[in-house]
Amino acid sequence: MKYIVEHYNYWLVIIIMMAGFYTVISRGNLIKKIAGLNIFQVSVFLLYISIGNVKDGATPIIEEGITLYSNPLPHVLILTAIVVGVATTALGLALVVRIKETYGTIEEDDIHNQDQSL
C-alpha cells in the first residue's frame, strides 16, 4: 500500500504518456498525430512537476514564516518548455496546412499512395 501511495503519480503520468505515444504511432491523420504529440508533451511536463513537488511545500514565492517550498528548478524548465512547445506545435500545424495544399489530403496512407512510397 505504501509503495502504491509513493508511486501512483508516476504510473498515471506514464499511462497518459503512452496514450499520446499510441496516438502518434497508430493514427494516420496528421492533426490527430499532432494532438497526440501534445499529449505526450504535457505528460512530460507532469512528470517533471511531480518530481519537483514536495509534501506540504508551498509555491516557491518567498514569504516570511514559510520554510518548506516546492523545488523551483523544474518549474523554470517547464515554464519555458510550454511556450516553446506551442511555437513548435504551430510550426507542425503550418506544415500540415502545406501538406494539405500540395496533396489535397492529410491522411498518411493517401499521401503514401500518391507518392507510391509504400
Binding site: 509555491t59 514565492i61 515554464l79 519555458t80 510550454i82 511556450v83 506551442v86 511555437a87 504551430a90 500545424l93 503550418a94 496546412v97 495544399e101
Partner: protein
C-alpha cells in the same frame, strides 16, 4: 460573428480588462506568479479575441503586420542588448549586478527589462502565427 450583438458588447468590455491583466502579470511577475511568457500570451489573446469577433482585417488595422515583425525582433534585441550593456559596464554577459548602483537594484532592473523583452517577443510571435493561420487560403475580399 460580426453581427452578434452580445458577443460584440461583451468582448468590448472584456478586451481592456485582458490587456490590463496582461500588464499586471508582466510587471508584477517578480512578486507574484507571472512574467514575460504569460503576459505575452495573455496580451495576444486579447487581440485574438478582437480578431475573432470583429474580423481579422480590423484587427490588422490595430496592429499592422510590419509592426508585429518589428516587435518580434525588438524583444529578442532588448534581451540581447541587456547582456551587451552589462558587458560594456564591466560585468559578464547578462550579469545584471553592474546595471545599477547596487547589486540588488541592478538585478531587479535587469530582470524587469529582460522580462519586458520576452513579453514583447512572445506577444508578437503568437499574433504573427495566428494571423498567418487566419489569412491562409482566403482572398482579399473574404478577409474584409
Amino acid at each position: 460573428m460580426k453581427h452578434n450583438l452580445i458577443l460584440r458588447v461583451v468582448s468590448k468590455f472584456l478586451i481592456p480588462l485582458i490587456f490590463l491583466f496582461a500588464l499586471y502579470v508582466q510587471f508584477h511577475g517578480d512578486f507574484g506568479p507571472g512574467g514575460g511568457f504569460q503576459a505575452g500570451i495573455i496580451f495576444s489573446t486579447g487581440i485574438i479575441l478582437y480578431a475573432l469577433v470583429f474580423g481579422v482585417a480590423s484587427a490588422k488595422k490595430v496592429i499592422p503586420p510590419y509592426i508585429l515583425r518589428a516587435l518580434a525582433s525588438l524583444g529578442v534585441l532588448i534581451y540581447a542588448a541587456t547582456g551587451v550593456a552589462s558587458l560594456l559596464l564591466g560585468g559578464n554577459y547578462l550579469e545584471y549586478g553592474v546595471l545599477a548602483s547596487t547589486q540588488v537594484a541592478g538585478q531587479h532592473l535587469g530582470i524587469l527589462v529582460i522580462e519586458l523583452g520576452v513579453g514583447i517577443t512572445v506577444m508578437a510571435v503568437m499574433l504573427i502565427i495566428f494571423f498567418a493561420f487566419a489569412e491562409r487560403g482566403r482572398s482579399e475580399e473574404e478577409c474584409e
